[in-house]
Symmetry: C2
């Protein structure tokens, strides 16, 4: 294990190298103003001693608080998707505050590139030690992280990735696989000749998000269909896209499609709006179809509890925020290595286990 640090701190290094501790400090922090020769000598000794800085002394002496920036979309009318990651950030903040680390949030408008560039300037100005970034605007994000790199700011991507960048790591869901998993669940929920309904309920189904070749929801739908193909399930899949997300409209559309296809016995909703379908089933249908959707929301849990939703799939959006911050901490403060890619687990929630679920 680790030696008692009896005496291999900067002082010992200085003694061996026959320089002052100030010079040792310069080398440790890669500052200028040290001759190549002494620098090399000191680095050798550091290696030899396997010097591990005392992070308490470091923190105490350099009175500067460490600062992280969180740079993700703000909550909007259209979607509360980013609430969960923010909750996770808050949790991490609570744990890191006693360690002298503070977190500033810079939220941008998903529909307004200029808000992104405006905030990015603020961050670059503030020069945090690390930033947790959702790179939805690819071009602008690339420019931003290039500037971060130049300024020595560590950055972590969340939610979507730009792999070619020289990021600390990526943390996010694997949407295709989520849909694929849903497909597996349907294997148990349907018979051979049943028809399956796939519903995308979202205002912006058609507009592919700038960041992705494909819309998020169609990635899940793609995974879902892929499961049926790969496993040679021949069930007919009916598709229903609802861009109007109010209940009266959902109700009308659903009623129509179910009247046309009376043999639909299972419904897959590609996002958290599954609760609206559950409401329809509860109030208007006699025979409950098999129903699967996404996200750990209050109303989804309600319908899980009532037995109307069979399964909810969830990719721990909260943990994305939490881990993002903790990884910055582990790398920047503790100097630990971190893995380059962290896919979130894809969790299956039911009436029987939701009470123990931690987002």
């Amino acid at each position: 294990m680790k030696e008692k640090s009896a005496g291999n701190g900067v002082k010992e290094i200085a003694r061996r190298a026959k320089v002052s501790i100030a010079t040792v400090d310069r080398v440790i922090h890669n500052r200028t103003g040290v001759s190549e020769k002494t620098k090399a000598r000191i680095n050798d000794i550091i290696a030899e001693l396997n010097y591990q800085p005392n992070i308490f002394a470091r923190q105490l002496a350099s009175r500067k608080r460490i600062e992280f920036a969180v740079f993700i979309p703000k909550l909007s009318e259209a979607t509360s998707y980013w609430k969960a990651p923010l909750d996770g950030v808050f949790q991490a903040e609570k744990e890191l505050l006693p360690l002298g680390i503070s977190i500033t949030r810079y939220l941008f408008d998903q529909d307004d590139v200029s808000s992104f560039t405006r905030q990015s300037k603020l961050i670059l100005q503030k020069k945090p030690a690390g930033v947790l970034l959702a790179p939805l605007f690819i071009k602008e994000s690339s420019a931003f992280v290039k500037a971060c790199h130049a300024a020595g700011i560590t950055y972590v991507f969340i939610d979507s990735d730009i792999p070619e960048q020289d990021r600390l790591c990526y943390i996010g869901p694997e949407l295709f696989q989520s849909g694929y998993l849903a497909g597996h669940l349907f294997r148990y929920g349907i018979t051979e000749k049943a028809k399956v309904l796939v519903m995308n309920i979202s205002k912006d189904i058609s507009l592919s998000r700038r960041s992705e070749g494909q819309h998020r929801l169609s990635r899940k739908e793609g995974g879902f269909r892929s499961y049926f193909e790969k496993n040679k399930l021949t069930n007919r899949i009916i598709k229903l896209d609802c861009q109007k997300t109010d209940y009266p409209n959902i109700r009308k559309r659903l009623a129509a499609v179910l009247a046309e296809h009376t043999d639909i016995t299972a419904i897959f909703v590609t996002n958290s709006r599954v609760s609206m379908v559950a409401r329809f089933i509860e109030t208007e249908m006699n025979v409950k179809p098999f129903l699967v959707g996404f996200d750990f929301t209050d109303s989804n849990i309600d319908y899980l509890e009532k037995g109307i939703i069979d399964f909810v799939i969830c990719d721990k959006p909260q943990e994305q925020g939490y881990r993002g911050i903790m990884i910055l901490y582990q790398n920047i403060v503790l100097g630990l290595e971190v893995e380059k890619v962290h896919y979130m687990p894809i969790d299956i929630i039911t009436k029987e286990n939701y009470m123990f679920y931690r987002n």
Copy 2:
């Protein structure tokens, strides 16, 4: 948020109280040798200033490393159950080492009370700041934690609980609910008139563990049966207990029971040995029954991958160890409040999501 700690450290408190910082320190640490009067005065000022000690300075000045003890069963031939929590402890250790916290493992033999009492003496002697304890021996554990309490050692229970004790918290699985959840999955895996086979494969099924009124496996079986009752499922449940856990015996017993009940179409195995049943199915059966078991083991994942096991239920044994240590850290080092009970999530693993599962 928090004030800049410009000047409300011990120095400021001392200044206001017109005492030396040594006296302030005595009050902060509840040491003897301070008159009630000055003590009260100082405490008032501490409260008024909302004094938060600088944990870096504290750590630096008091050269003592913080030490935690892990007091759980050792791995045995009979069961590798405790490997996962130990892995989690190792993970936490890695993260806490840079913070000057070290962890010592005191492992005892589940079948030998004297090994427990022997180790417990060592721990009491060592006086760690905190201990993570699996209180399998109720009586001895009670005595041990009483001694801990007296010595000012914080303790956390893992795996099973003794609620009346004055522990920091409990972390563990909810076995009954795990079985109940399994029941839910069977709802989708069987038809109305199918028979279901429940298998307990374990050397010590009959001996109820000292710690629990009921054996662990029968808690899961109880939950499973309870699901069927509560949901008025009338399927006949056949029970098979195998105390000889070698494959030839499993094979013989299974063949016999399946010959007697040809209409068994689903099998529930109450622990990680489900892979042995999968092996039987793979080599000897033509029609694959619905199969559910427990724990994220390599061979279970194999059979999940092959499509022979349908679902594996897992209660994050590794995280139990990890969280146990981290909770000690958060409470003892950071001074944060913690929740009294942490039930582990009950996760559902399939062929489609196991690759993203983190124990």
